[in-house]
């Protein structure tokens, strides 16, 4: 079972990385860009586990380690 976890900064939290990249994109010729936010994509190979176990494990891992829930949100997909 594989999982893709998407970790993004909470909306209320400033994202200087995103802002800086927006600035850079504007400079190289994309003035239309209105917002850029940077997040993480974490790909996990969970080995041989059931869909159910996987879902539960990934949720736990996100809460404990993969996302910093003080400032980040997460969601994930299993496949």
């Amino acid at each position: 079972m594989k999982a893709k976890v998407y970790v993004t900064l909470k909306k209320s939290i400033a994202d200087p990385q995103g802002t800086a990249i927006q600035g850079a994109l504007k400079k190289i010729g994309y003035p239309n860009i209105e917002e850029v936010r940077i997040g993480k994509l974490i790909e996990l190979d969970l080995g041989e586990v059931s869909q159910e176990t996987a879902a539960q494990q990934v949720k736990e891992m996100c809460e404990k380690l993969l996302a910093n829930t003080v400032i980040e949100d997460y969601r994930f997909e299993l496949e």
Binding site: P16, Q17, A20, I21, A24, K27, I28, I38
Partner: protein, 226 residues
């Protein structure tokens, strides 16, 4: 002989290089602001360390788009000397003026320390005052200095003698222990360690002088040949 140091808004080793050349060797050196157009008067261009544009996405990724960098590319294509140290090395790989890429240190930490680097090839404008195999103690200070490249590129680097420096003890996971390389034409050099930080007796280390002296010697020789 004139050295030019490119200053991006987030450069912070620009002054270190400036003083290394000026106070340490009495050379003629100037800062070049990143939106400058012409850099014809300079014999050697330095891309100093720092965080050129914040380095948020990847180190050195944005700097290549600065106005001055078109001229810098031409300068290099004309065979003149171009040196990138630390962030400068990252910029050179991002601009494809040097092969490979620099990724996060293996231990995922920023490392500031003085390390031994071995001179692998002393037949270059940047190492001619060193002995082959000589170990220089040079400071490193980087979070993303882990050199990677594909097999083919590594093979080429080796075959062409483009590997100039390797770490005596690999601090960051670099493939083949690579600390510094040059291009095939031997006029563009990138290295993660900071020779400009080791040019002052008061700071307790002058090993960097071998590298700066090499560059100066090379340029002097070129001028005599002209």
């Amino acid at each position: 002989m004139k050295f030019g140091i490119i200053v991006f808004p987030g450069s912070n080793c620009d002054i270190d290089f400036y003083h290394a050349f000026k106070d340490g060797f009495g050379e003629d050196v100037e800062y070049i602001w990143h939106d400058t157009e012409s850099i014809d008067e300079f014999d050697c261009i330095i891309l100093p360390g720092g965080f050129s544009y914040g380095d948020y996405l990847r180190c050195g990724a944005v700097a290549g788009f600065s106005k001055v960098m078109e001229s810098v590319r031409k300068h290099a294509e004309a065979g003149k000397l171009l040196i990138g140290v630390c962030n400068g090395f990252q910029i050179l790989t991002e601009m494809r003026l040097l092969p490979g890429a620099l990724v996060r240190n293996q231990n995922l930490k920023f490392i500031c320390n003085t390390v031994g680097i071995k001179v692998e090839n002393n037949d270059s404008p940047f190492t001619n005052q060193c002995e082959k195999g000589q170990v220089l103690n040079i400071p490193i200070a980087h979070g993303e200095g882990n050199y990677v490249a594909d097999e083919e590129t590594l093979k080429q680097l080796k075959e062409n003698g483009q590997i100039l420096f390797t770490y005596a003890e690999n601090p960051n996971g670099s493939l083949l222990d690579i600390a510094g390389i040059c291009n095939k034409k031997r006029n563009v050099m990138g290295m993660m360690p900071h020779p400009e930080r080791a040019c002052d007796v008061l700071l307790g280390n002058e090993d960097g002088r071998f590298i700066l002296q090499s560059i100066i010697t090379h340029l002097k020789g070129e001028m005599q040949n002209e």
